[in-house]
Symmetry: C2
Subunit: 472 residues, 2 copies
């Protein structure tokens, strides 16, 4: 699956052909004001410039572009909102960046069948707000929802805090239209809650990181919008106690829509970054617990049970957000955790996930690894899912030491997660930045099978090359 470097003569031919498929205004070249943003996403400080950016507006244009690139043997990297955290949208072999940003229409909200059809370039939050205005609900809410797109969410298999109760992106995709690497348009599924016709290729495309096909339309399931929610902030003196509270609540028959966790250093970073004071900011960890539903009485009853279980595990207090404004404030605090922690110094963010009862062991183990390598790590994430984002911070380490120990520390963290029954990415993907670690999570037989899938879709390896699989 080696990819050739594009020569400048070939490039001119490709650009001219692109300009005949779309309008010249949809083709961006080096020198254009917006061009450079297509060379990076939100993954650390990585930059790979493409040769050309094309922004199609129809499925047929996507198909023609892929046919052209296949014929000319030019790599193509699809791109959504550019908010990815594993480098999935980076054109690491140059070539064409295929941005879906102009395919941003919500095509239909079907209130009889509780489905929506939409194009990949729709911003996730806009989609959520549009369906909520109709009394419907699209639960998956990655932290970047204000700027990420549905297409990127599908490509990466995005998650978020509500996964515990409501599941992740893949649980809402019931139909796709997609363009294969050689330009053929395929359609699977529809507004159907049950469909067992042929293999589940729809499920295979979700989370395939733009390496198997370019999704050009999705049919997403909606559910009734819960009318009420209650949000609690619960500080604990011990990380382990916070973690034990999670299954204790679920054993009482309650599935909160979120159980988020922030450790002390994360809260401190938020206080500094946002110039605010958080209650009990010296507590070892805080849980943000949210319940939602349509019956206020029942929610109050659930909150009483949750408070009981928090008390039993030794919570320092159970603080209810009394108003919607206060709820939003708590969520803004939580959503700013990544930005606050990353503002401290250069960093590397990991996305480990374990069975949720093993969270205390994972967090303790991460701190033990940090201490041994004399590095700084700050964790926060989705306690209900066992999905922890740990940020390794450079702070004042020498460049040479940082470069030497970073991969060793990451490898140890990943081996620990796998040893605890977990894996190396819960919702960020493998992409470019994690591919060297893939073999920690999957054995050679599994990886060989993944490669056979890639070859069956993309025999020349032109679609989003340099991702998932290590080059060796």
């Amino acid at each position: 699956m080696e990819v050739r470097v594009t020569s400048s003569g070939e490039l001119e031919r490709v650009i001219s052909a692109l300009e005949s498929i779309v309008t010249p205004a949809q083709v961006l070249l080096q020198g254009h004001d917006d061009f450079e943003k297509y060379g990076s996403d939100e993954t650390e400080d990585l930059v790979f410039l493409p040769d050309v950016v094309v922004r199609p507006e129809t499925t047929e244009q996507v198909s023609e572009i892929l046919k052209l690139c296949y014929r000319e043997r030019v790599p193509v990297t699809p791109r959504g909102g550019g908010t990815g955290l594993s480098g999935g949208a980076l054109p690491v072999h140059g070539g064409v960046v295929l941005s879906l940003e102009r395919m941003n229409q919500i095509l239909e909200i079907d209130k009889e069948n509780f489905f929506a059809r939409l194009q990949p370039g729709v911003i996730t939050q806009i989609f959520q707000e549009t369906v909520e205005a109709e009394g419907l609900f699209y639960p998956p809410d990655p932290a970047s929802r204000g700027t990420c797109t549905i297409g990127g969410n599908l490509a990466e298999g995005a998650g978020g805090p509500r996964a515990l109760k409501y599941g992740v992106t893949k649980d809402y995709v019931y139909g796709v239209e997609a363009v294969l690497p050689q330009g053929e348009i395929v359609r699977f599924g529809g507004k159907l809650l049950k469909d067992v016709v042929g293999y589940n290729l729809l499920g295979l495309l979700i989370g395939s990181e733009g390496t198997l096909a370019v999704i050009t339309e999705a049919t997403m399931k909606l559910i009734p919008l819960p009318r009420f929610r209650n949000t609690l902030l619960v500080p604990f003196n011990e990380m382990a106690a916070a973690a034990r509270t999670v299954p204790a609540i679920m054993r009482r028959g309650i599935i909160p829509c979120a159980m988020e966790f922030m450790e002390r250093a994360c809260i401190k970073a938020i206080e500094t970054h946002r110039e605010m004071k958080v209650q009990h900011s010296d507590a070892a960890a805080q849980l943000l617990i949210e319940v939602d539903g349509n019956d206020e009485m029942q929610l109050e009853h659930e909150m009483e049970i949750i408070a009981e279980e928090c008390d039993r595990e030794g919570a320092l207090g159970v603080y209810l957000a009394e108003t919607t404004a206060k709820q939003n404030e708590i969520w803004e605090m939580r959503r700013s955790a990544g930005e606050a922690v990353k503002s401290i110094s250069p960093y590397k963010e990991e996305d480990t996930v374990v069975p949720r009862a093993r969270l205390p062991e994972l967090v303790a183990g991460i701190h033990e690894i940090a201490a041994r390598y004399e590095i700084s790590i700050i964790s926060y994430g989705h306690a209900g899912d066992g999905n922890i984002h740990c940020n390794i911070l450079k702070r004042n380490l020498e460049d040479s030491y940082w470069k030497e120990v970073l991969p060793k520390a990451i490898e140890e963290i990943f081996r620990l997660a796998v040893h605890l029954g977990g894996t190396i990415s819960g919702e960020h993907g493998i992409g470019y930045s994690q591919k060297r670690f893939l073999s920690i999570a999957l054995g050679p037989t599994e990886i060989a099978l993944l490669r056979r899938m890639k070859e069956a879709f993309d025999p020349l390896g032109l679609l989003n090359p340099g991702k998932i699989f290590s080059d060796s």
Copy 2:
């Protein structure tokens, strides 16, 4: 993917090798009392005898058996409970039937993480009752749950009445161990609510009808067991009114755990078959509506809303099952629908699915087709999912007429379902009996891609040959 016929000399060598992989008691040959049952499942009256049946007890034995069959180029057909309705377990090319019935252990029920690990031969109902005794819940409940197995449910992507609220089998599978056609053992996923490492091959295996790999262990998600349920039976004078009630209830923010539908002729067949009287059995259609939850007050409130909506759509009455015994009676009635209808005469059962709001059009269209061909069709199924089982009955038709019109009528019904945005199977699979109709649901590009998947897993086409794809 042509499969050779096994010669008798080869067969003897294979049998002797099988007897060295497992014990001789685990190998069954023609003449054994139990042998013939492996030649059929619950699909009409189809019978294809295998050359030999092997019943392994470990994953390693499954691996050795597949290696042997690959080496000897012998077809292998995996088999669960033998309750399939599309012929998926039929050894249509002879060879080896690989029965998973002896791998029937529930390996672990993890109450901290809400997951179970189990072998494929566990009977679905036994699994459900075992986890319910622990206060946990495994919702998917195909009508055959008393005899079907989890392995078969995974292979076929089984559904059932609770799919509307709780989803289908694939929504509960978070980890698998499987053996590939050449004998390699692979593992994907685990006790993880989020996992985006590599392609979603786990999702690809679920519903692949035993044609890509043999699943030898599954990790299944559990949820808290709802403590209360209420069951209603609601007769309507008009099929269309019954169908309109379904989205009307959901628009009120309620997702019942089941909304089942039976038309008049189905109720009449149940009355005859079970020698019982059903209230309002002359009504055009009856809905069976069930809600469940942990809060009795809330369920009562939901039932009031449901009754309101039923009234608004012109229900002839809303009858609550006052006791658990009465609830069970209603469900036994519903579960006996298939048997009751099929006892009337030879039949062919279809498993069409459409967006639920189009159900009235599907049912009306089916009756129009039936009238035009002068055949008898009785429908029942899952109104909440738009998934209708329509049984075409031979009654007193001449054999020659039946053989001539049956495929024409089925093709028209399938084209109607696809025209309404639906497909040809919601939960039974394509298998052997529906493969000639696959191209009604999927285009040539989609089918070509499915075939590439099959070839990537099974280049010699030895695992469950003669299924899904038509031979041409």
